[in-house]
């Protein structure tokens, strides 16, 4: 159990660091969604099923949709939508 906890926690940190160093925006969003999924499992481990459901619906679902929409709208224009 502790091994799973460590795996998830280290996964969270790796995701958060990696999101800062991606070159394109789409991987950032995927990393964000992964982060949310892992967090949702952690809520289950911490005996908070309400949070797990809400995180899965809001943090993974709605947030990801918003991010995707935002980069889609950015691609209508000149420039790549990539960083810098």
């Amino acid at each position: 159990m502790i091994a799973l906890e460590y795996l998830l926690l280290i996964g969270l940190i790796v995701c958060a660091v990696a999101a800062n160093f991606t070159r394109n925006l789409l991987p950032t969003i995927l990393i964000y969604a992964t982060f949310g999924t892992m967090l949702s499992v952690i809520w289950l481990l911490l005996k908070a099923p309400d949070l797990a459901i809400t995180e899965a619906a809001v943090g993974v679902g709605i947030d990801t949709i918003l991010f995707l929409l935002a980069i889609r709208s950015m691609r209508h224009f000149v420039g790549t939508g990539d960083e810098k």
Binding site: E5, Y6, L9, I10, L12, I13, C15, A16, V17, A19, N20, L25, T28, I29, Y32, F35, G36, L39, I42, W43, L46, K47, A48, P49, D50, L51, T54, E55, V58, G59, I62, D63, L66, F67, A70, I71, S73, M74, F77, V78, G79, G81, E83, K84
Partner: protein, 131 residues
């Protein structure tokens, strides 16, 4: 405390320790990343870190989730973990979504106007158009 005791405590408080690291990573990303989009993403990480810290305060070893299985049996405190932090975090998650949406909306407008996500460049162009 010597270093061993500290490491032991960090192992015991692994959720708190991880949340602190996440918090600092998120904070650093928000303050120092130049891309507006990544600032908004980092904001999400930072909020999640706080929620992780708060939720871990409510966990008690070996207790059940705070949902009463059988209403006929009187509940005792020794069976369920603390429900208050989960309630607070539920509030916090929804607050954090509205801020993500707001931040992204601002980013989208700025990108439309200045065709860039780099905050320095955007500020420079805004300054230029003002003068």
């Amino acid at each position: 405390m010597d270093i061993n005791a500290i490491l032991q405590m960090l192992h015991a408080n692994r959720f708190e320790a991880a949340s602190v690291i996440l918090f600092v990573v998120g904070l650093g990303g928000m303050l120092f990343n130049r891309s507006l989009f990544k600032k908004v993403v980092s904001m999400g990480f930072m909020d999640s870190a706080i929620f992780l810290f708060l939720t871990s305060a409510g966990y008690v070893e070996g207790r059940l989730a705070p949902i009463i299985a059988d209403p006929a049996v009187t509940a005792t405190m020794e069976v369920y973990s603390h429900p208050l932090p989960a309630g607070l975090v539920l509030t916090g998650i929804v607050v954090s979504v509205s801020f993500t949406a707001f931040g992204l909306a601002l980013t989208q407008r700025l990108y439309k106007k200045y065709h860039s996500l780099n905050i320095d460049e955007i500020m420079m162009q805004a300054q230029k158009s003002e003068d």
